[in-house]
Amino acid sequence: MAEVSVENVTKTFGATKALDSVSMDFPNGGFFALLGPSGSGKTTLLRVIAGFILADNGHIRIGGEPVERVPVERRDIGMMFQNYALFPNMTVADNVGFGLRVRKVGAAEEKRRIAEALELVQMGSLRDRKPHELSGGQRQRVALARAFVTNPRVLLLDEPLSALDKALRVDMQIELKRIQREIGITTIFVTHDQEEALTLSDKIGILRNGRMVQAGAPRDVYNAPDSVFIAEFLGDANIFSGQVEGGALRIAGGRAIRIPKGAEGANTFAIRSEDMAISLEEPTGDDTDRIRADLVQRVFAGAMATCIVEVEGRRMKIVARERDLPALPDEGPVWLSWETDRLKPVKDE
């Protein structure tokens, strides 16, 4: 167990910059997510930390020790692969024991730790099966046990849950978090599923085009996104942009929107889809701002509903509890309202 730090790491493949001066700290014992769309460099960053890819420059430290020139096999990491990469010629127990055998821990110790690890992932009864006799969820558990059984300094998970179906994925999220808490190992995982990142991690790093665009606690990043990209990538958000004139934002169509105090310098604002209300009558109240819109579509999704509206030709999305929605027609003129301080200034990128 150790903290990991990545400092100004750059990696180019031919003409493309897969990682562009990326920095992020991963304190000891935490659970961290690297999130981003495909091609953002998140897997490259994980593989650089693991040592499969050597960075062009920058520093990587595990437990304070620089490891840029240390090969994978001597970095003392545990890694779980997207396809699990279980050894098909070995039983569950031999798969889990592989790293212990390499470290020559002795037969008795090896046996004890295999049993312990399999117990922790609830696979003790299937220790003599071959990988092809296991279900997807079981393979995932074995791969996880195999990754942490050696007590590595850091656990790296590459899209750990993406191969599972939705119901199993939610179960495994809870399971993964429990196991991580129990062994208390610094864990970094890569995902393109924003919900997974928000649910599991203590800290999220969001990558885009090889750059780390924002890092922080999930709640902070969600509530105060830095940029339009993050606001729209993490959850649903609507964007207002225009010219600031006398403490108000003049958006397309000439309408003015009040902007929150202390954010007078910005000209682009994001607001969470669930922070906007939709109504037929014009809402009242001093601290709420309102605007006319056209309802285009109303999508029922059980407990929640999504309304697509158009404001001056620009599409916006409102998410609300189905029961809170007034008896709206399927389309037609509506009012949108929100509390002014819900608007967050963001960079227009």
């Binding site: 499969f52 545990g78 692969f81 010629n89 390499v102 470290r103």
Partner: protein
């Protein structure tokens, strides 16, 4: 149900019958004819007297000569197989895991080339290379500061070299396919757990490519045990093997019954060896 079964049965018979007809014509009939010959006392041509006998099989056991030659051929088969694996496995590994793109295709072409050249031409080319004052000796002496005599012609080594050259592609191709099927992330996973190259080779690559390696070994071993052309041309005085003796019976001595009997004994021994090694073949992971 019964009707459907009959229709399926008919269809299966119709679809499979060409294959079975071909097997019957190409394998079963000639083999039966040879089996029949092996039980005759003389070639049933012209006015020769002949009867059914087991004498030809008895001949194998009466003198130790045939058994000794068979053992020599089996040893040759093992040697050639081992050399083919020692050369072929690294070649296949490099092809499957290191080289990418067009150069791989070019190398494949070079490997398969022996298959496309006439075997006699190939063997006589080796004779030119291996003989005293031949290409090999001249080349070696051109490099070395002192003179050495290098006459490999008419030795066991020459036979092994010729056979390895002929059969190496089998091992490379079958092993290549097995290695190609090994997911690279398995190797990554092993490295992440701290395994060095040797451990990965011993505990992952070898076990996982074993089916291909064994298939290649069988494809080499079986024909080499009965080989006669390479031993005859490259082996000279040392080139008497079980295969050449069988060839003699058919071509020179005109004792087809004995040749046929010796062939069937070879077939039996090879099948026995394969049967004995089949537990290993089957244990290999799919």
């Amino acid at each position: 149900m019964a009707k459907a079964w009959t229709r399926d049965g008919l269809r299966a018979t119709a679809l499979l019958s060409p294959a079975y007809l071909w097997l019957t014509a190409a394998v079963f009939l000639p083999l039966s004819a040879m089996l029949y010959y092996s039980l005759l006392s003389d070639v049933p041509f012209g006015d020769a007297e002949w009867r059914i006998t087991l004498d030809n099989y008895r001949a194998f056991f009466e003198t130790g000569t045939y058994a000794a030659l068979l053992w020599k051929s089996i040893r040759l088969g093992l040697t050639v197989t081992v050399v083919c694996i020692l050369i072929g496995f690294p070649c296949a590994y490099v092809l499957a895991k290191t080289i990418r793109g067009r150069s791989r295709e070019a190398l494949f072409l070079l490997i398969i080339l022996p298959f496309w050249s006439n075997s006699l031409v190939r063997i006589f080319s080796w004779a030119i290379v291996l003989r005293g004052n031949g290409v090999l000796e001249l080349a070696v002496n051109a490099v070395l500061p002192f003179d050495i005599r290098l006459n490999l012609m008419f030795t066991q080594t020459a036979v092994v070299i010729g056979l390895v050259h002929s059969y190496l592609p089998y091992v490379i191709l079958t092993t290549y396919l097995a290695l190609q099927a090994i997911d690279d992330t398995l190797i990554d996973a092993a490295r992440s757990m701290g395994a060095g190259k040797l451990t990965i080779l011993r505990r992952l690559i070898l076990p996982l490519s074993l089916p291909g390696l064994l298939a290649g070994a069988v494809l080499v071993f079986v024909p080499v045990v009965g080989a006669f052309m390479e031993p005859r041309i490259l082996g000279g005085r040392f080139g008497t093997y079980y295969g050449t003796v069988i060839e003699d019976q058919f071509v020179a001595v005109f004792n087809w019954p004995l040749g046929a009997a010796l062939s069937f004994i070879l077939l039996a021994v090879v099948l026995l060896i394969l049967a004995l090694s089949s537990p290993i073949l089957r244990r290999a992971p799919a």
